[in-house]
Subunit: 341 residues, 2 copies
Amino acid sequence: MKEDTMKTNHVVTIKDVSEHAGVAISTVSRVLNGLDRVSDETRIKVERAIEELGYVKNSLAASMKSGKSRIIVVVVPDIINEYYTAVVRGVEEIASQEDYYTMLFSSKDSHRREQKLFSGELGRAIDGAIIIPAYDELDYYRNISKPVVIIDRYVSGSDMHAVVIDNHKASYLLTEELILAGHRNIAIISGAQEFNIGMDRVKGYRDALKNYGIEVRPENEMIGNWYQEHGYRSTLELLEREDPPSAIFAANNLLCIGCIKAIREKGITIGKDISLTGFDDSEVAQLLEPDITVVRQETAMMGKIGMMKLLDIINRNEKTVYPKKVVLDVELIRRHSVGKI
Amino acid sequence: MKEDTMKTNHVVTIKDVSEHAGVAISTVSRVLNGLDRVSDETRIKVERAIEELGYVKNSLAASMKSGKSRIIVVVVPDIINEYYTAVVRGVEEIASQEDYYTMLFSSKDSHRREQKLFSGELGRAIDGAIIIPAYDELDYYRNISKPVVIIDRYVSGSDMHAVVIDNHKASYLLTEELILAGHRNIAIISGAQEFNIGMDRVKGYRDALKNYGIEVRPENEMIGNWYQEHGYRSTLELLEREDPPSAIFAANNLLCIGCIKAIREKGITIGKDISLTGFDDSEVAQLLEPDITVVRQETAMMGKIGMMKLLDIINRNEKTVYPKKVVLDVELIRRHSVGKI
DNA sequence: CCTTATTATCGAAACGTTTCTACAAAAATT
DNA sequence: AATTTTTGTAGAAACGTTTCGATAATAAGG
């Protein structure tokens, strides 16, 4: 009785399977991994034994020996931002198709946390990483001793594997939209200029202005960080000027929300008293009254392609279809936050 | 020269450390884990060796031997719903404090995916799980051979470790708010009744009506699923009746969004022509015009307590402060989506 | 029918830890 | 000074796999 209980408690190993099937341990392993050739007869015996005993591979032990864990980690700045979770969704879709496990890690935009991850135990356990970097020295990421794909943020001139969107174009389109509605005094609220997402967005804005022969006024460029608070404060400051801008371009979703809050607080109306374009499309942008003109980015696609690139690197796939740096196109979504002047 | 390169390429193991320090492998291990007593002299020697060689523990190997991976998995129905990611944030906070790694897994509300996770390799590798279940047979989760804490959704009568909010109270408060504003014809839009989140929310609604002597009308209970589409269709149906309700209570965030879309489409005004209460608080609920009356749930706290409970179970901590089932309180947030009648 | 090539299987060593048992040295007790 | 206890360390076995070299069995070539 007691022995019975003990037996059921015991987790079944490859050794149990081999004994049950009357073959060597190595044979079972070969059946499991389907690498080498095994006679049909043996294969069936082993498979039946696996079935009967309810064997489940201990991936930890396997990983230790083979050095592969089939775990990839996705590093995002913030787990709660829907923009990032949409990327993760894309990654997960491809990963699970290929029997990889994804682990989500939130860096909270802290390079320290990233370092802790990659220099620590887990950093050694993973097979690869997809990173939205918190640090603008991409060299750091290049020196990670695992396959890495950079997503969303980039430093131009780097030669790392990366998937980004066409920030310059997006920004140009959103600014142009305001110009075409007759605006001449247009402000931009943007975050740090370390990454392409900062520089290209400001550059796209400036280039649009220049192209239409509009003066670029430094005081209209509110550069700070990417968080709501900055959007809020910058907007208040802009609106309290003697000569406030007639249109604002908020360079990401959080800045846009902050901006809207400030505008509301001032009691003026978006699309009438002031025009506004945002960046990332979202539920909020659609539901607001008026709804916000934005660019749609293929966020999930970014994750998907990132993961496919990572797989190519892990498997040293020579005939990959992707260039080192993939730039995704964007699409302007016209809504009602831009009013004619 | 060649040897040099080879040496740097070689990953340093505990054995290298032991040789460098001139002690036994086991001694290094004891220093690393700080379990047994080691003389200060030896400890320092070993620590210096670790420092000099840049040794990083191979957690895979350690896990294999000890049977502990320090990985816990958080299973959520949908990674993109901010309600769930807020929970995950709470979990992560506690987990990283205690040097656990969290792995995020999206079940997509599919029990199949859950089963695949727990019956597969990874299911064996983890130390525990925090689950928002996709399946209403909690017995399934009880039989997972790992420590498990159920979050958010629950089946009454079960005796599993769980952290939930007071759905009945939340629902009661939101309905009462409508009643106190003079409404008598109040509809509820809710999801499936398998879990407490369904049953308690409908029950809270009914109990509020009864308490105020208002007739409970079955045709006012739009029970379906928890997704936007259901909120949208139900609202359209309600509004097209001869005797449409003057107020709607949408029992989660997605239903509420669907509801709002339908109302907008009909060209009527929330807070005036129709009153509305939602459930989960969110950025959207705050930014909409008018902003929506909801209950605030301590979502992150749910994750935190869930993780602390899980740690108690993993460590077989007898003096835990938490009851098996923790019920968190809720708070009504009055905004402007409810109009007096 | 003997040799060589091919195929299927086995046994054992490895992977990098943890942990148990044993033993020597030092400290404490007689 | 002889015994016992405590403390610190070493050595080796174990964890559950993968993988390599060896071997046995079968097929092919002369």
